[in-house]
Structures are given as structure tokens and as C-alpha cells.
């Protein structure tokens, strides 16, 4: 699967990229480490936003770079390097999410959630609200709104339909709006 849509500018550049890539393809440890250092934070950020725990995110970071080291020879320079690394990271994070699906407890139902008035009083901050979403909704909102993937790409990565991705995104925004106290009474 190729994921073509990337941010307009590659935000994470590797200094002396051609030489680093050539070294990495030969299995040169210093070059591989340079790649790791260039991308460890963005990969970890993506993983941490999608996964429930820091431990899961660390595992995703390791799995991602293990895969990068193993298949850097297959990266042919089409699309940005970050786009390529990110697609590996996203698929590892989603794989973990699938593995943990049994414990993907949905965010609190309306029945058990605090009433709206209390909610508004709570006014969670954005990170707390994001964490409170179900894993699937959080993954979709992050991949779509932050990483810039299309619904088609998200659907392909998650093995779901485009309309599933769209409805998860809408659901996420409805929840976030409420939890952030942004609901306007009609």
C-alpha cells in the first residue's frame, strides 16, 4: 500500500540524507542510528497519541525502527522519507491497537458519563479529552486531522470502510466538542 499524501513540506529532514540513506542500506550502524535520531520523536508522538499507554508506544517505536532497518533497501526515494517511515509507524500502531482490541473499552456512554452541566464544569484540556476517546476514534482523528491521511488511506490501513473512518471522525469531534466545553446551546 502506498500512502501518497504527505504534508506540503517534509517536516523532518535528515542532514546529508543521501549519504545517510546509502549507509543505512548497507547496514551501517551509524547511518541507521542517524535515521533513528531524526525520526524517533515524530514516530513516538504518533504512536503515543494512538496507543493507550507509553509502554505500547515505546514498543511501536522499536518495532517501527526494526522494520525500517530491515527494509530500508526497499525505500526507493519515491515520496518523502518521513512519509515512508510514518506509514510503517502508523501500521505498527494500528496493529497494536487491533491486538489490544479486546480491551478497547469505548469512551463512557452517555448514560454513565457525567451530565452535560458537570461536563462543562470539568472542561477537560485537549490532551485529556483525546485520551478519553476510544482507541479507534482517537486513531482516526489523529491520522486524519494531524497526520493528514485521507479517509481512503485510513480505511485501507485499518481494514475498514471509508464510511467507518468518516463516522469515527465525526464521533470523535462530537465527543471532543462536548468534553472541551465547546458546545453551543441552540
Amino acid at each position: 500500500m502506498t500512502l501518497t499524501r504527505t504534508l506540503p513540506m517534509d517536516p523532518y529532514l535528515v542532514a546529508n540524507a543521501d549519504a545517510v540513506l546509502a549507509g543505512a542500506r548497507q547496514g551501517d550502524a551509524a547511518a541507521l542510528e542517524k535515521l533513528f535520531r531524526a525520526f524517533e520523536s515524530p514516530v513516538y508522538t504518533l504512536a503515543r497519541r494512538i496507543c493507550r499507554t507509553a509502554e505500547d508506544a515505546e514498543d511501536v517505536l522499536q518495532e517501527t525502527f526494526f522494520e525500517v532497518c530491515r527494509s530500508i533497501g526497499r525505500y526507493r526515494g519515491e515520496g518523502s522519507l518521513w512519509g515512508w517511515v510514518r506509514s510503517i509507524a502508523a501500521s505498527k500502531a494500528l496493529m497494536r491497537l487491533r491486538r489490544n482490541r479486546y480491551r478497547d473499552t469505548d469512551e463512557l456512554d452517555d448514560a454513565t458519563a457525567p451530565s452535560r452541566r458537570e461536563d462543562t464544569a470539568l472542561r477537560m484540556d485537549l490532551e485529556a479529552a483525546l485520551e478519553r476517546l476510544s482507541e479507534t476514534s482517537r486513531a482516526v482523528v489523529w491520522l486524519h486531522d494531524v497526520e493528514g491521511y485521507t479517509h481512503e488511506e485510513i480505511a485501507a490501513m485499518m481494514g475498514r470502510t471509508v464510511s467507518f473512518s468518516k463516522s469515527q471522525l465525526a464521533r470523535a469531534h462530537v465527543r471532543l466538542r462536548r468534553w472541551l466545553g465547546e458546545e453551543v446551546d441552540a
Partner: protein, 205 residues
């Protein structure tokens, strides 16, 4: 007309025109509430993008590197084995040196080292025999495949345990776990040697 749903608002942010977009845009023209909603939607997405970048709490490169080295070593071991057939003596030795004969109270790391060595003996026995180049019957193939799958599974678990040990996570439990995994691995390799090599020599190959 009622206000736009979240789906309809989100559809307006997508590139291209989707069914319903025209009507939605018309509604927006005359509805300040929905314009406000769309604006807040934009802002929410922008705030998500502006969340700070995160970093892991410890350096994970050594662990990645270790795992990569283990993998490439295994790969080399698997494919650059000594060519030629297995000497009957080394099979006999391998089979005789059964894993039942493990010392009673040896400490775990010594036993792990022994099991590791034993694994290598059995693996090179298999490699020299080179089952991949032989015609084997369906049943043998199935049994062999099942054993190999389980060994691959064990290898992943061993790798994970080893990583945690390197990272100093519950070192003692990891050692006990590794010992148990190595024992099972030796047992499976014995079975695999038995399936291929012993059977072959019994039929006078």
C-alpha cells in the same frame, strides 16, 4: 432546516464536492451557528496539530540495534551453514545428548548457555541435512512445518524476553522465562531432527 450534522460539517473540509455539500453550503450562508461550528472544528484540528511533540522516557536505540543484530545473525546462521551431509556420528551425539540430561540445580544462566549451545548443534545438524532440498512425504512436511512455526514463535518470545532483560525490566523473571523458552526450543529441535534425520537414516538414505 435543522443545523448541519458533524458529518456534514466534516464533509465540507474534505477536498472535492460530495453529495450534500451544495445544500450544506447554502445553509451555511444563512446560519451563523453553523458557521461558528465549522470555525470551531477548524480550530480544534489546528489545536490538535499544535500539541507538543513527545519523546520516549528512555533511549530505545540500543534495543532496536540489538534486535536487529540478533535477526541478522540468525539469518546468516540459517543460510551459510556448512554444506554437505550430516555425519552419522554427529546425529548420534546430538540425539544422545538429550535435554533430559540437564543438571539438577545448575543456575539458570548456565543452563540457558547450555541450551543455546545445544540448539546450535541441533540446528547445524538440520542445516547439514538440509531438509529443504529433500523430497519428504506430506505428513512429515506437516509435522515439520508445525514444529518450525512453533520454533519461530519461541524465537520471537525469546527476543522479547532478551530485550526486556537488556532494558533491565524484571530481570529475574526474564531469566526464568528465557530458560523455559530455551528448554522448549531444544525439545522442538530434537523433534525436528528426529522427524527428518533419524527417519531418513532409518530408511537407509
Amino acid at each position: 432546516m435543522s443545523h448541519l450534522s458533524m458529518e456534514a460539517l466534516l464533509a465540507l473540509r474534505e477536498p472535492g464536492v460530495e453529495p450534500g455539500d451544495v445544500a450544506a453550503r447554502e445553509h451555511m450562508e444563512s446560519c451563523a451557528a453553523c458557521r461558528g461550528e465549522l470555525e470551531r472544528l477548524h480550530q480544534r484540528a489546528a489545536r490538535l496539530r499544535a500539541l507538543p511533540a513527545l519523546r520516549p522516557s528512555r533511549d530505545l536505540w540500543p534495543a532496536v540495534r540489538l534486535r536487529q543484530r540478533i535477526e541478522s545473525r540468525r539469518w546468516q546462521q540459517r543460510w551459510t551453514g556448512v554444506a554437505g551431509f550430516l555425519a552419522a556420528a554427529s546425529v548420534a551425539l546430538a540425539l544422545f545428548w538429550g535435554d533430559v540430561a540437564r543438571p539438577e540445580a545448575a543456575d539458570a544462566s548456565a543452563e540457558i548457555a547450555a541450551a543455546r549451545e545445544r540448539s546450535q548443534v541441533l540446528e547445524s545438524a538440520l542445516e547439514e541435512y538440509n531438509p529443504e532440498l529433500r523430497v519428504i512425504d506430506g505428513r512429515t512436511a506437516r509435522v515439520s512445518q508445525a514444529l518450525e512455526d512453533r520454533i519461530a514463535e519461541l524465537d520471537q518470545q525469546l527476543e522479547a524476553a532478551q530485550l526486556r532483560q537488556v532494558q533491565r525490566v524484571e530481570e529475574e523473571q526474564q531469566e526464568a522465562r528465557m530458560l523455559q523458552l530455551w528448554r522448549e526450543r531444544v525439545g522442538l529441535l530434537n523433534a525436528l531432527v528426529d522427524v527428518h534425520v533419524t527417519r531418513a537414516s532409518n530408511v537407509g538414505l
